[in-house]
Symmetry: C2
Subunit: 341 residues, 2 copies
Amino acid sequence: MNESTGPATIDDVAREAGVSTATVSRALRNHPYVADATRQRVQEAAARLRYVANPNAARLASGATSTVGLLAPVLTSWYTGEVVAGVEEVFAEAGYDLLIGTADPSARERMLAGETRFRQRVDGVLLVDVMCREEGAVRLATLDVPVVVLGEELQAVTSVSVDNIAGARMAADHLLQLGHRHIGVIGGKSYAEQARDVPNDRTTGFRAALVDAGVPLPDHWVQDGGFTIEGGRLAMHALVRQPNPPTAVFAMSDEMAFGALQALRELGLTPGVHMSVVGFDDHTVSEAIGLTTVRQPVRAIGRTGAHVLLERLEGLSTIAHHPMPLTLVERASTGVPHSMP
Amino acid sequence: MNESTGPATIDDVAREAGVSTATVSRALRNHPYVADATRQRVQEAAARLRYVANPNAARLASGATSTVGLLAPVLTSWYTGEVVAGVEEVFAEAGYDLLIGTADPSARERMLAGETRFRQRVDGVLLVDVMCREEGAVRLATLDVPVVVLGEELQAVTSVSVDNIAGARMAADHLLQLGHRHIGVIGGKSYAEQARDVPNDRTTGFRAALVDAGVPLPDHWVQDGGFTIEGGRLAMHALVRQPNPPTAVFAMSDEMAFGALQALRELGLTPGVHMSVVGFDDHTVSEAIGLTTVRQPVRAIGRTGAHVLLERLEGLSTIAHHPMPLTLVERASTGVPHSMP
DNA sequence: CTGAAAGCGCTTACAG
DNA sequence: CTGAAAGCGCTTACAG
C-alpha cells in the first residue's frame, strides 16, 4: 500500500481516498460542506494508513499554535504544582499543549512582557501569582494574545482569585472564638508595603479581625517564615523563645505551619494544647497531620483559570473576575488557650 | 523600518542585514562557515527587529521536533511530580519542550506504543514507572525515537532506577537493629505476582531481610495501603486492631506512612514509642513530621533520566543502566520496641 | 461539496 | 563563506 518511508502524510491519504488534500484536511477536521460519504471514505483511508496530521505543519499553515503558556514565579511549591495540574487537565482535554515557564519574582518585568520564550509560540497566557497589579494588567491587556491572571483581582484583564483578606479573617476569628488573645503570625516578605499581594492581604485581614476584637498584635509577634517549611520552623522557635509568647499562631501557608509544628515537636509541646496553629491552603498532607487551616480550592483555581482562558481564546467571553471560595477546616492543631508547661 | 504587520520574519532580517535568508539561518544558529563580520551584522539586525525564529516553521523544515515526551501512569503523586520537575529543569535548559501524557496503568500497551499523542511530535520519550519489563523494553527499542525508562533496570533500553530490594532491606535492618521482632508491612498491589515492580521488589527485599534474621512475617501483618495517605491510615488501623499487633511497620511510601501516623494520632499512640514507622521516599514534609524513611534522590532521578535521553538524542551514548543511591534517614518515628499502652 | 494552487516561515543540499 | 531554490506538510481563500 504505502511504499514510502516514514509516517503517512496528507498526500498519502488523499491518494488512498481518491480525493484532494484540501478535502482530506476538511474531512478530518470536521468542517461543514463535506459530503458524508466523502468524509467517511477519508476517515477510513486515514485510519488504514494510521495518519496523524503533523502538528508543526498544521500550525505553520493555520497560524494557530494550539499552545498556551503558563508563567509562575516559583514552580516548586505545592500550591503552584496543584494549580498547574488543574490547568493541564483542562487544556489536555481541549487539545492544547501547555508551555511552562518560570522567572524569579524579581524578573516581574519580563513576566509581564510575556517572556521571550513564549513569543509566537502561544495563543494565550496564564499568569500564576505574578502580582501585576492594575498597572501591570493594563500593559498585559495590550499584548496580542489573551491573558488570564490567577491570584489577584483585576479590572483590565480576566482574573481568578480567592479573597485573601477574608480568608485571613476566618483564621483570626477561629482563634478568637476559641478564646485566644495572644496571637502571633508567621508570614512572608511582601513585594511592596502598599501592594496588594498575598502576604500583605493576609496580614491586613488578620490584623483587621484582631482590631475588631480589641486584641493587639505587637510587631515582635509577627515573624517571617519565607513561605517554606524550614522558615516556619525557625519562626515558631523565635516566637516560643520570647519572654511572653503567644498562645496561638496563624501561619500564612500550610508549609510554614508544618515547620511550626515541627518546632513544637522539637520543644516537646503539643499542637492544639500548648500552642494552637492554623494554616492556609489545605495541603495534601494537612489532614493527616491534623492541621486546622483555611482551605483554598487550588485544583479548581487552576481549572477555572484554564476554562476562562479557553473561552477567551474562542472569543466567547469578555473580561471578568472570577472569585473562588475559602473555607475553614478545623482539626487537632487548634484548641482553647493553655499556658506553656 | 519594518512596515509589515506582525512579528519580523527571516526575510525581514535578511533584508535588514543585506544577506540571504540562508545566511541568516546559519548565522543565528551558530553554524560554522559564516564570516564573523557577517554573523555580527545578522545578529544586530535580528536584535533590532526583535526577531525570534518561528519554531513551527523551523521544526517543519528541519524535521526535528525539539520536544520530548514524558509518560507516567499517575501524574499526581508527589514522587512523579518531583521526577517531572527534575526532567523539566534539564530539558528547559537544553531548549527542549516537554510534552506530558498520562494513561492509567492498565493502558500499559498504549504507553509502550508511545501513545498516539506523541506520534511525530517528539524526538524522544521518557517513561516513568511504567514497568515494561524486558519484553516491553525490547519493543520500545524498536520505536523510531530513543526511549529512556525510569524506575526499573532494563537491558534493551537505557534505564535509571534505584535498587528497591536493597532499599527495603535497609528499612528492615533498621527495625531489626532496634530490636523489633514483630514487624508489619503496608504495601500496594503488584501488577503481577512474579513481575519485578516497585511493591514486589520492596516486599521481596523486606521479607528476605526478616528471613535472614529468623523473624517471621505472617500474612495478616501485610496490609494493602494503595500508595495513598488514606490507604495507609486504614492499613494501620487494621494492623493495630489485631489481637497481637506488630511493634513496628514498614510503609512502602511516605504518603502511606503519613496515613499510618495519622491513625496512630487518632488512637492516641506515639510514633517511635508505641509503634515504630519507617517509610520510603523522603517526601518534602517527612522531615517536619519526623518520619524515618529510605530516601530516594527523586529530583536527581528525573535529572539523570533527562540527561541520558539528551545524550542519546545527540548520539553520544549507548544503552546503559544508571543506578541511583538510597539512604536510610533516621528520625523520631522509629525507636526501640515498646508494648502498647 | 470539491480541487488546484498559493503560502505559512523556516532549513538544507547544491552550486559556486 | 554565501546565495538561489526546493521542500517540509499542512490550511485556506478562490473558483467552480
